[in-house]
């Protein structure tokens, strides 16, 4: 009994270190190989959506493998009219042009509205709250300058091999874009000029 215990102690200590080092090295190599293989497989591309093709169908909120979705609303301040009556922030025929919940279009109150000076208001997106439903984008596109638009946020996106939203996007708006320029922000390009690998 005591002999077995001593043998176990000697074996376990030495082997544990050796085995641990081997496993760590093996895992490291496998990881590097895996990442390399993964990157090679995707050609250094990530998923993105063309805001000019987007039809604000709402599927980005429902079909992403993440909850909430990795698709978020982005605001191009250069395009914004800074209106008091903002079609992306307020419900049509809102009771009041204000911040009360009943007046807001966003279901999660992810848009922050701030008075700048008469008659201008600034709108910011809280990405932690945004679920990518595109309701605000629809309002902004219908009644405003279209400065609010959806983008895949690479802070959240896990870059699935086959994007679950891309599979169901009715506008075929999803494409792979180079990692070096992962966003398609309005103002940086115009209708029909977005390019990707697909």
């Amino acid at each position: 009994m005591s002999e077995k215990t001593e043998n176990s102690k000697n074996y376990g200590r030495r082997d544990f270190i050796e085995k641990g080092m081997r496993i760590t090295l093996g895992l490291g190599l496998a990881g590097v190989a895996g990442i390399t293989a993964l990157k090679g497989d995707k050609g250094g591309y990530v998923w993105q959506l063309d805001p000019f093709k987007c039809v604000r169908c709402g599927r980005c909120a429902d079909y992403c493998v993440l909850t909430p979705s990795a698709v978020k609303c982005y605001h191009v301040y250069d395009l914004c009219g800074y209106c008091d009556l903002c079609g992306g922030y307020l419900k049509p025929d809102a009771n009041d042009l204000g911040t009360a919940a009943e007046n807001q279009l966003c279901p999660t109150s992810a848009i922050r509205r701030r008075f700048i000076e008469d008659p201008y208001f600034e709108y910011d997106i809280d990405k932690e709250l945004c679920i990518g439903c595109g309701i605000c984008v629809e309002g902004c596109t219908s009644f405003g300058n279209g400065s609010l638009h959806l983008q895949v946020s690479h802070e959240y996106c896990v870059n699935c091999n086959e994007c679950a939203i891309a599979r169901v996007c009715p506008a075929d708006a999803f494409m792979r874009v180079p990692v070096s320029s992962p966003y398609l922000i309005k103002g940086d390009f115009t209708v029909g000029t977005a390019t990707g690998s697909e």
Binding site: C83, D93, S109, F115, E138
Partner: protein, 472 residues
């Protein structure tokens, strides 16, 4: 022994379950929520400074002459008959060659959507000069676009989807304008002499609409008819010669000024001024003992942003439409004892029938023509034709041909539509189908939304900063 162990295990599970339930019940799942309350945007922290506005204080005369021989008139918003149909003979081209339509001249204007009025060779535009911060009534020669004179006054306007957005009203003697912040000015049509001014914002406590005033003044005989939609007054008449207020119709139902304009029309044999305000609709008597009196008013049509004007149809029907999700409504006005009854015949969302966001539909040959807004579903941005008997049934649409928020007008047997980007499309108005007969990209336009004006075979059109005179 075994049963005691089971009893202990069951008890532990029961206790753990109960503890979890209590913990779950005691925990507020909304503890991390932030309530969206009014006032979180810090609105109103800026202290308003009252501005001393002296209407008509400046005048500039330029050394240009008007060229004679022009007799045509497009004297106000929506033309002589308030229907956006040109009545004068224009000898319009049936088709366009590559060179057509020829651009006669171009002028740069302040950012905005103000349209032109034309009267016998003179063009009148209420512009906003950003450099000098002035509302400026500018008179140009129709023949060459040279400026003849300018009557202006200082007023502080900030860019807000453009600054100017009204069309002057012109008679043989006078020109009346309404500025972005509700200042009314009347000047001599020929030499620009100042006649009178009225600050509706100051006098009637008008709340300046979102994106500034778009109401175009109405001149009826020797009176200017205006709709302040102020705290106590809905509509007023001003003596054109003196500036004296002739009557004030009360604001009984908390109307406020919209982007719409007053349209006169005959309803059940009586002439009335109809105004689609923010918050409701009102009709004021236009003649005889009824003049200046509220004939009927209603909040059945109640929206916070209204730009198109009412379309007065036969038998007391009025078609109303607005953008920003409002949709449209057909109301029926019927005599009821000493007054009138107003009821909604049909109300629907923009995707369910004819609706317009900025422009007013045209009633032509017993049919209504208009462009569906961008929130109009599958029919968005299409020119459509409907019968007033069923405004939800599209007789035809332009299908894949889509337009923007730009204006449209009918002259002779042609309809012209200006897209937001500066493309002018010529269509044959028809109640059976969409017939396009020409199109031309005239300029790289932005927000080309101002009403069109046609006289002497020339069309005036503009985008946010540039006005063109085009030979049609």
């Amino acid at each position: 022994m075994g049963s005691i162990r089971r009893y202990i295990i069951v008890s532990l599970f029961a206790f753990a379950g109960l503890a979890s339930l209590v913990a779950w019940m005691a925990t507020d799942p909304t503890r991390d929520f932030t309530a969206s309350m009014p006032g979180a945007d810090n609105r109103g922290i800026e202290v308003a400074v009252e501005e001393n506005i002296v209407i008509g204080e400046f005048f500039a005369l330029f050394e240009n002459d008007v060229v004679g021989g022009y007799t045509g008139k497009w004297p106000r918003f929506r033309g002589v008959n308030y229907d956006n149909i040109v009545t004068e003979r224009q000898d319009i081209k049936d088709s366009w060659s590559d060179a057509d339509p020829e651009i006669r001249w171009t002028i740069e204007l302040g950012e905005g959507h103000a349209g032109a009025a034309i009267y016998e060779g003179r063009v009148y535009i209420l512009d906003y000069i950003e450099e000098s911060r002035e509302d400026a009534l500018r008179c140009f020669s129709l023949s060459d676009g040279e400026e003849l004179w300018r009557r202006s006054y200082g007023v502080h306007i900030k860019r807000n989807h453009g600054m100017s957005r009204t069309v002057p009203a012109v008679t043989e003697r006078y020109v009346v304008t309404i500025g972005p912040r509700c200042q009314v000015m009347c000047v001599d049509r020929i030499n620009g002499d100042f006649i009178w001014g009225l600050d509706m914002a100051k006098q009637y406590g008008v709340e300046v609409p979102q994106w500034y005033t778009a109401q175009c003044p109405l001149i009826d005989g020797d009176k200017a008819i205006l709709a302040p939609g102020g705290s106590s007054v809905a509509m007023i008449a001003v003596d054109l010669n003196t500036g004296e207020i002739l009557w004030e119709a009360p604001n009984n139902i908390e109307l406020s000024m919209s982007h719409s304009s007053i349209i006169p029309g005959i309803i059940h044999g009586k002439r009335m001024y109809v105004y689609s305000a923010d918050g409701g609709i009102v009709a004021v008597g236009a003649e005889g003992d009824d003049e200046g009196k509220i004939m009927w008013e209603s909040k059945v049509w109640n929206h916070s942003v209204v730009a198109p004007s009412p379309v007065i149809l036969d038998d007391g029907k009025i078609f109303l439409t607005a953008g920003y999700g409002a949709g449209s409504m057909m109301i029926q006005v019927t005599p009821d004892g000493d007054g009138y009854n107003v009821e909604s015949l049909v109300e629907y969302a923009p995707r369910e029938g004819l609706a317009c966001e900025q422009q007013t539909p045209i009633l032509w040959n017993g049919h209504l023509f208009g462009i569906i807004p961008k929130d109009g579903g599958a029919n968005r941005s299409q020119l459509v034709c409907v019968s007033p008997d069923n405004v939800q049934n599209l007789i035809w649409s332009s299908g894949t041909v889509r337009f923007g928020l730009g204006p449209y007008i009918i002259a002779e047997d042609k309809m012209y539509i200006l897209s937001d980007d500066g493309t002018l499309v010529m269509v044959r108005p028809d109640t059976k189908s969409y017939i396009e007969i020409g199109r031309k990209k005239l300029f790289d336009g932005t927000d080309a939304w101002a009403p069109l004006a046609i006289a002497d075979g020339l069309m005036l059109l503009r985008d946010s900063k540039t006005m063109l005179c085009v030979d049609i």
